[in-house]
């Protein structure tokens, strides 16, 4: 009898626990976001509400449930709430920056002082006026010594006068950022940079008056998820951790209130779940990989958005080890791998061969060598090098990569087979990002080839891979000159010529093995009108005119 009672008690407790878990949780203080009731959601004039639900964080440009100023991704979503100083055009095709918070910008004569003229009439979501002071405050807030922000929007902050001192805690302000008046911001650089504007595309403004946390709490503050205040077309509506964030139209938006009544970002752990949600009609948009996009092609119920990733996939060689300083060895890889077949058969044509590290075709020389597949030539180059005592014998030819998709595995398997045909045995290893970084960054002498991606802006090109102190021991004075020529360019034509020359040199030298820029995709239902998506690196930011989006 006693045992029966215990058994019964266990069953009752178990059921009670299950019921308790099923009961809707009382929102903790941090999550007391005002989720509107159904009645509130119905519009007052009785019209059907326009709600767009998307997987805006899915894919390589997304930063799932991230906050601004974290790792450079997630701009597709951030730009709905916050606004950057300037913004990239809608498809990156013109490589031009367009007005956002700034309506115009110009450098002084030697491009050491940049003046940004700000837009009139911009208001924060809470009705306060946006001014130049907000921008200076934001720069100092995210650059504070305790903030530990790895990516804060200005891609070359050390060029700004006083930034380094401020970031090190040796100054009270960034001296080089000056508020001239409410609508004018001045940034002084310690070197001339005629293309500095390209460095501030991710520089979003934060509201000094509405931020109630310290720089040390940038990543831990609930503010981003409970009451973020921006100047973007949409304002915060509600949030449920791990599930979604909903935005409402910003009636104060300078370009007119959005047509949608609600814009919702639903969170997914992986792409397959997002695609199935799209197919079941639960969401209206998501990023998809190339193989999935081909499944939707021709389906009248969906619209496909595509564009180059502007990330060059390449082999990084380690010049700290012997064989890689020999150009013949490097070129043998270019000739030995059937790039054209990989693009046509593995990518199904959804990638473009690149002659150099630069992902922007504008800077590709017309007479570039695309190293057509020629295994005989590869064998010949290897034999020539071997005759001079340079050989791959005994060299560790693991190819660590942080790309772990099936597509990446297929690509590297083909490369492995191609190289085996020319007598070189390579071994791809698929690692998560922290492991990859440990292998490549912390064990400089132990690796030889790494498969990776490299991005960059159309008006800025970081020299850290090619000039002084690069971690793979590349020491070629020509690169110093080529980068110096780019820095010295005073106008767009000079810059294009200098950057093209750099590309040409990379191509001839095959310094690294530059393979391709792949195409990325987004799929939306045809129910969304005037929608725009571009698979920009890190999600942009780019002009998407989300204020015009509407549901049929």
């Amino acid at each position: 009898m006693f045992r029966s009672k215990i058994l019964g008690l266990v069953i009752v407790i178990s059921l009670a626990l299950l019921v308790a878990c099923a009961a809707p949780a009382a929102a903790p203080a941090a999550e007391e976001a005002p989720a509107e009731s159904e009645e509130q959601m119905a519009s007052e004039d009785g019209e059907v509400e326009q709600v767009l639900i998307g997987g805006f964080d899915v894919g390589p440009g997304g930063d799932p449930q991230g906050v601004l100023y974290n790792n450079g991704a997630g701009n597709v979503w951030f730009v709905k709430i916050f606004t950057p100083l300037i913004i990239m055009d809608s498809t990156f095709s013109n490589h031009t920056s367009e007005a956002a918070l700034a309506v115009s910008w110009e450098p002084n004569e030697d491009a050491t002082v940049w003046t940004f003229n700000l837009r009139e009439g911009v208001k924060w979501h809470d009705g306060e006026d946006f001014t130049a002071s907000d921008l200076k405050w934001t720069a100092e807030f995210v650059s504070a010594p305790q903030a530990a922000v790895t990516h804060f929007g200005i891609s070359q902050p050390k060029q700004i006068v006083g930034w380094t001192e401020y970031n090190a805690g040796e100054a009270d302000e960034i001296a080089g950022i000056r508020v001239v008046d409410d609508l004018t911001l001045e940034i002084e650089l310690n070197i001339p940079n005629p293309r500095f504007y390209d460095s501030v595309r991710g520089f979003y403004a934060l509201p000094e008056h509405a931020i109630n946390f310290e720089p040390t709490e940038i990543f831990s503050s609930d503010w981003w998820f409970t009451n973020p205040v921006g100047t973007g077309p949409f304002k915060f509506d509600s949030y449920e951790k791990d599930q979604f964030m909903a935005l409402a139209p910003n009636e104060l938006y300078w370009d007119g209130a959005p047509e949608l009544d609600q814009l919702i970002n639903r969170y997914f752990v992986d792409e397959t779940a997002a695609v199935l949600a799209l197919e079941s009609g639960d969401i209206d948009f998501t990023y998809v990989s190339a193989d999935v996009a081909s499944r939707f092609a021709g389906n009248p119920d969906y619209q496909i958005f595509s564009g180059p990733s502007f990330v060059t996939n390449m082999f990084n060689y380690n010049f700290l080890n012997e064989p890689w300083s020999d150009k013949r060895i490097r070129q043998a890889f270019m000739y030995g791998i059937d790039r054209a077949s990989i693009i046509s058969d593995v990518f199904n044509g959804t990638a473009q061969a690149t002659p150099c590290q630069d992902p922007y075709p504008t800077f590709w020389p017309e007479d570039a060598n695309y190293y057509e597949y020629d295994p005989a030539k590869a064998r010949e180059l290897l034999a020539e090098a071997a005759a001079d005592g340079v050989t791959l014998e005994g060299v560790n030819l693991d190819i660590p990569t942080y790309y772990t998709s099936q597509l990446a595995k297929d690509i590297l398997t083909v490369m492995q087979a191609n190289m085996a045909d020319v007598g070189v045995s390579v071994n791809p290893t698929f690692l998560d990002v922290p492991t990859w970084r440990t292998v490549v960054d912390d064990n400089a002498s132990e690796w030889n080839i790494a498969y990776r991606g490299a991005g960059g802006g159309p008006a800025s090109y970081s020299p850290i891979w090619y000039v002084a102190d690069n971690q793979w021991g590349l020491d070629d004075p020509n690169y110093v000159d080529l980068f110096a020529a780019m820095d010295a360019a005073q106008n767009a034509d000079e810059y294009r010529a200098a950057r093209t020359a750099l590309c040409k040199y990379q191509n001839e030298e095959a310094t690294f093995a530059y393979w391709w820029v792949s195409t990325r995709y987004g799929i939306a239902t045809v129910d969304i009108e005037d929608f725009h998506y571009f698979p920009a690196p890190g999600g942009g930011p780019y002009v998407d005119r989300s204020q015009d989006w509407n549901m049929k």
Binding site: L276, E279, D282
Partner: protein, 317 residues
């Protein structure tokens, strides 16, 4: 009671050892949280990374970091996530609640339906029911969770549109128990298939074994009615191995199910652990492991105590 207290005391050093081993293992894994933060496609210098490591205290020696963590835990503080600054204890509370609901429902369905059907076919060996349900249970056990998940989602959500494609609630509608249960059907059903098949097979086997015992023959010979033989003699004795299997399943109530949670966008413990390990989020990994170890130890204790409930001959001193 003395036995119970002794077991609880023994579990304390076991728990300490588990945390030590896990802490060593996760720190032996290459990379650290800073390596995860940085977008590899954006150029960043080693000096910048070292600066961030110093800010997070990741430059301290491993023993120092472990004992700092242990000191915090001793004060009831599991710390904060490196990835996003969330309070580890709060995250665990929310995620465990979701996982318990999902796994508990699946386990409850598995126990009730699986054991019932196991008894049913155990008493009808070699019948059409026996062949059919045993065959189906093979399928249930053999089918990988991600296949069952995608199949269920594709058929019942994409094609038939009967159930939502994932998540825990209908976005845009107020939270309600009915809506939650509606979202629970597919993921819990998917997980229940495996549980159901497992319990069905164990129960059937156990019933068949007990039915051949001498004391059952004796009970029949002395003229007891068949239902009395079945419930008093067969079922009680057949229950012991089943209790063991149920006990072994209890840790899944908090550990979660990675594939099912992922495919159904059910934000539970399974997905959280993978996310934490991938991000080298040491405080989160340690928090999950600590809770899981606690549950495993507790489940073992409960299972042992359950034996005594199921079998009057078992006594602990």
């Amino acid at each position: 009671m003395q036995y119970f207290l002794r077991r609880v005391l023994i579990n304390i050093p076991v728990l300490f050892l588990v945390t030590l081993v896990i802490y060593l293992l996760i720190n032996l894994a290459p990379g650290d949280p800073v390596d995860f933060f940085v977008n590899e496609e954006i150029g960043i210098t080693k000096e910048d990374l070292d600066f961030v490591r110093e800010r997070y205290g990741l430059d301290d020696p491993l023993p120092v970091r472990y004992f700092k963590w242990l000191g915090q835990v001793a004060q009831g503080d599991l710390g904060f996530r490196f990835k996003n600054g969330d309070d580890v204890a709060e995250v665990l509370a929310v995620r465990m609640r979701r996982t318990f609901l999902l796994m508990g429902t699946a386990l409850a369905i598995g126990i009730v339906v699986g054991i019932t059907l196991g008894i049913f076919i155990g008493l009808r060996q070699y019948s059409i029911w026996d062949f059919t349900l045993t065959g189906l249970s093979f399928v249930g056990i053999s089918m990988p969770a991600f296949i069952a998940g995608i199949f269920g989602l594709y058929v019942f959500s994409v094609k038939l549109g009967w159930f939502p494609s994932g998540g825990m609630r209908t976005i845009g509608k107020p939270e309600s128990l009915l809506d939650l249960l509606y979202h629970l059907v597919l993921p819990a059903g998917t997980l229940a298939i495996f549980n159901l098949a497992t319990f069905l097979r164990y129960t059937r086997f156990s019933i068949l074994e007990v039915r051949g015992e001498d004391y059952v023959r004796t009970a029949n010979a002395k003229g007891l009615k068949p239902p009395a033989v079945t419930w008093r003699h067969v079922f009680r004795n057949a229950l012991l191995p089943v209790v063991t299997v149920v006990g072994l399943s209890l840790p899944t109530l908090v550990a979660g199910a990675l594939f099912t949670e992922t495919i159904y966008s059910w934000p539970g413990m399974g997905a959280l652990l993978v996310d934490a390990v991938a991000a080298r989020d040491y405080p989160m990994v340690m928090g999950i492991m600590l809770v899981t170890a606690l549950v495993v130890l507790t489940a073992n204790l409960i299972t042992d105590l359950a034996y005594a409930v199921a079998d009057p001959r078992i006594r602990y001193t």
